[in-house]
């Protein structure tokens, strides 16, 4: 396979942002007629590398060489997406960026419309635009009415058109950044057919995804990044899914070492929260989940496996397409977060800044917000009650803040997270859903948070714990639900250990 011609070679690429070394000496080699997977967890540096390759963000160090059919490689300095495109490097991003109010033909030729000659008045030659679009789509084997508005087409068709647009200017390198994340299985196959066509035409394709099975379906080679560093380049047939997961998370899968001595409610007691056949189209395939009082249920899976989506459906932040929810064994109406709150559910969102804190309000008001929302408008907590409650929770969780009147935005990440947990503790929840509570929190605070979670469960709360760090999930969970490709891969007992979780994520158990 090494005999395929190298098209692009990046060596020692580094790039720092304030406070983060996003990339440190990363190499990447793309070959003609090959689909190359770029893999890594959140924050591994995939996006930054793509930005470097498309000219959005020049590297601090390193060089990029582009090989022509004739010459032996030429060092290029990329400084804008337009220039990268002229050199033959195009990218299609997660959500295709077609202009919804223009036709497919207009989208495909955007920026390089054919002109009528001056004698005929100049201007854009529309028939020629349509002809070129049709010709391009025909070459790629896509059957599409190019006069239709792009906005009215299904997401998958738009994605195909976006790929067509990207390769219209004779792209030699095509970067696909999570192109399948919003497509269903059939649509993915249509996209893959197009990718294979392009591959056979000799385009070098860089494919970024979180779906392991797609990597093995379409790619020949894998580059793995972790924390901004290169882990390695592998041929797909030399690295199995489990090895790939291990490379991404960077831990030689080891024996677990956990034991915590509290007993969840007997398995015969009705679950505190149970979802039957819960699903949302294109987001989560139907699955059953239940968590009992006093139990920590861990949710493990890679990014994009449906972890956060499951949590949002359970808390009715997103509308489910199917599924019934039982609380304490009784079917309940759960249509919006207000319902969830009244049913005794709590939810600490993954994105603290965006969905959690109200930055300019003091810690006190951030803490009482959910409790007050449940009490409604008529009855309100007096200042004294609010203060007492906030003081108590700040002390109980060890939240470090100058005062309970400090705007919460001024607290450190870990303390903001604790304050959001305090917000839900104030409502004395039956079920607490924690989506990545330890993300962006320093090590010591992480430990404290995990202890808090165990204490909560010991007190009889049902806890749903979601984390990207498998090790954390294994450490606190009584039971673990493993998600893969937006579906439930299986369940494991808490004692199963990281090894078993990785195996199940990789799909070989």
């Amino acid at each position: 396979m090494n005999d395929r011609a190298i098209v692009l070679e990046a060596r020692g690429i580094s790039r720092a942002f304030p406070g983060v070394q996003a990339l440190a000496g990363v190499d990447l080699t793309l070959r003609a007629g090959e689909v190359h997977a770029l893999m890594g967890q959140n924050g591994a540096g995939k996006s930054t590398l793509i930005k470097v390759l498309t000219g959005l963000c020049p590297p601090d160090a390193g060089e990029i060489k582009l090989f022509d059919r004739s010459n032996g490689g030429q060092v290029i300095a990329l400084h804008s997406p337009q220039q990268a495109q002229r050199l033959g490097i195009s990218a299609v991003h997660q959500e295709s960026h077609l202009l919804p109010n223009l036709s497919v033909a207009e989208n495909i030729c955007a920026g390089r419309y054919p002109r009528r000659p001056w004698p005929r008045g100049g201007g854009i030659d529309w028939p020629e635009t349509r002809r070129r679009a049709r010709e391009l789509l025909g070459k790629l084997g896509i059957d599409l009415d190019v006069t239709q508005l792009a906005g009215g087409m299904p997401a998958a068709v738009q994605q195909l058109a976006a790929v067509a647009r990207a390769v219209a200017g004779d792209a030699r390198v095509l970067i696909l950044d999570e192109p399948t994340s919003s497509l269903d299985a059939d649509e993915v196959q249509a996209l893959f057919r197009l990718i294979r066509t392009l591959r056979d035409q000799g385009v070098a394709i860089l494919f970024v995804t979180h779906f392991l099975d797609q990597v093995y379906e379409i790619c020949q080679r894998i580059t793995v990044l972790r924390n901004g560093r290169l882990v390695g380049e592998y041929a797909c047939d030399q690295l199995d899914a489990r090895g790939l997961v291990a490379a991404m998370v960077g831990r030689e899968v080891a024996e677990a070492h956990k034991s915590h001595a509290h007993a969840p409610a007997a398995a015969t007691a009705p679950a505190a929260l149970a979802a039957r056949n819960l699903s949302r189209r294109g987001v989560l395939k139907p699955m059953d989940v239940q968590v009992r009082r006093g139990e920590v249920l861990g949710i493990a899976g890679l990014l994009g496996s449906g972890r956060t989506e499951l949590a949002r459906l359970l808390f009715a932040l997103d509308r489910r397409d199917s599924g019934g929810i039982d609380v304490d064994g009784r079917p309940v109406r759960l249509e919006n977060p207000g319902d969830a709150l009244r049913l005794g559910l709590g939810f600490c969102p993954e994105d603290r800044k965006q969905d959690g804190i109200v930055a300019e309000l003091p810690v006190r008001e951030n803490i009482v917000l959910a409790l007050q929302a449940r009490m409604g408008l008529a009855k309100f907590l007096t200042r004294a009650q609010q203060r007492a409650l906030a003081e108590k929770l700040v002390a109980a969780l060890g939240i470090k803040t100058a005062s309970i009147e400090t705007p919460i935005g001024q607290l450190s990440g870990g303390n903001q997270q604790k304050a959001i947990i305090a917000r839900w503790l104030a409502t004395d929840p039956r079920v607490l859903i924690l989506d990545e509570p330890t993300r962006g929190v320093d090590v010591a605070a992480k430990q404290e948070l995990m202890n808090e979670i165990l204490k909560l469960a010991a007190g009889g709360t049902a806890v749903l714990f979601i984390s990207a760090e498998i090790e954390e999930v294994v450490r606190v969970s009584d039971r673990i639900v493993v998600l893969r490709d937006r579906a439930k891969a299986g369940e494991l007992p808490g004692e199963a250990g990281e090894d078993a979780v990785y195996s199940m994520i990789a799909g070989d158990a």
Partner: protein, 341 residues
């Protein structure tokens, strides 16, 4: 000094003081207050009195803007409230020749306020239930409302002769104008309301971060309805004061362009039009700045045909003064090496 300059209300206050000083320079007796007939008199009292309706409307507008909405129908609601009240009081006389009211005064005022609040509720329903953009939803009432008011009066100006009706707009209580008392009362009540009640907490939470409020279980739709309704109500109060002050209701001109002044007052007070953190005190200052501007133009004796141009220029200057970017630019020009020192 530096900390003072960073306070959110520093620049609105400074602007107001500057405007008053400009007036004092041109007219040394501008700041004088005198006690006559048991009332305080003077230019300052006059400005406060005239600014009262704008203050009241702007306070309602502040809450709407805080939850990332907008209400451009307040001027029309002012006209509706004024017309309803004037119609119900009537322009009649009793048999002995004294001015009389067709309906009890409390009923006239109550009905006007109720209808104004209903107008606000209508706006809220369009925004919350029909999902319209606030500016479009309230544009409907802005256009239609004035038409409704004109329909009610057959396009006539209704003059009210019933003297008790004049108290709101030109009466005095404890030496100060009644209108000022109403505005002050509303302000204090709103200040307490937004800091001490559940609804207030929710308004601030939604303004600060709507998604976080939703995740915390706050139901935004009911709160938006309350806020739009209150905005309509406050426009109604302003309408009563305005029509009481001029002893008549003119459906065509009452509250004309008031919505723009109100939005300007809210902005001058430091509340961003994109919502979020709001300042009631800032809004009050903003309304005072606008009224002072108007008074300044009169006291400088600007000819009527250039009044609008002068006002525009002054508003422009005030907005530049309040813009942090512009101030930074000026500082860079004035002290080019301040950054490196």
């Amino acid at each position: 000094m530096k900390r003072l300059a960073q306070h959110a209300l520093f620049w609105p206050s400074a602007t107001l003081v500057l405007l008053l000083l400009v007036n004092a320079v041109f007219n040394p007796s501008f700041l004088a207050l005198t006690w006559r007939d048991g009332h305080l008199f003077g230019n300052l009292i006059d400005i406060l009195n005239r600014a009262a309706p704008l203050m009241i409307v702007s306070l309602g507008m502040t809450l709407v803007i805080a939850i990332r909405g907008l209400d451009i129908s307040v001027g029309a609601v002012v006209a509706i409230a004024a017309t309803v009240a004037a119609l119900l009081v009537g322009g009649g006389f009793s048999a002995d020749g004294a001015a009389a009211s067709e309906h009890p005064l409390w009923m006239a005022l109550g009905a006007a306020l109720l209808i104004a609040a209903a107008c606000g509720l209508w706006n809220g329903l369009l925004v919350v239930k029909a999902g319209m953009q606030p500016i479009v939803a309230t544009l409907i009432l802005m256009v239609a409302g004035r038409g409704v008011a004109q329909l009610l009066t057959d396009g006539q100006i209704i003059t009210v002769y019933y003297a008790p009706y004049y108290v709101l707009g030109s009466g005095f209580l404890l030496g100060l104008p009644v209108a000022l008392w109403i505005a002050a009362l509303l302000w204090v009540a709103l200040q307490l309301f937004t800091t001490r009640t559940a609804l207030g907490l929710f308004i601030r939470a939604i303004g600060g971060n709507p998604e976080a409020a939703r995740v915390a279980g706050v139901r935004a739709s009911g709160i938006a309805l309350c806020v739009y309704t209150f905005c309509g109500f406050s426009a109604g109060v302003a309408g009563l004061i305005i029509s009481s002050n001029v002893k008549s209701a003119d459906a065509n001109s009452a509250g004309q362009l008031l919505e723009l002044d109100a939005i300007l007052a809210v902005t001058l007070g430091g509340t961003a039009l994109t919502g979020g953190r709001f300042s009631l005190a800032g809004t009050v200052l903003g309304a005072l700045i606008i009224q002072t501007l108007t008074s300044t133009i009169y006291s400088l004796g600007v000819p009527p045909e250039v009044t609008l141009v002068v006002k525009a220029a002054l508003v422009f200057a005030v907005m530049l003064l309040q813009s942090a970017e512009f101030r930074a630019l000026v500082m860079r020009v004035v002290r080019p090496r301040a950054g490196t020192a």
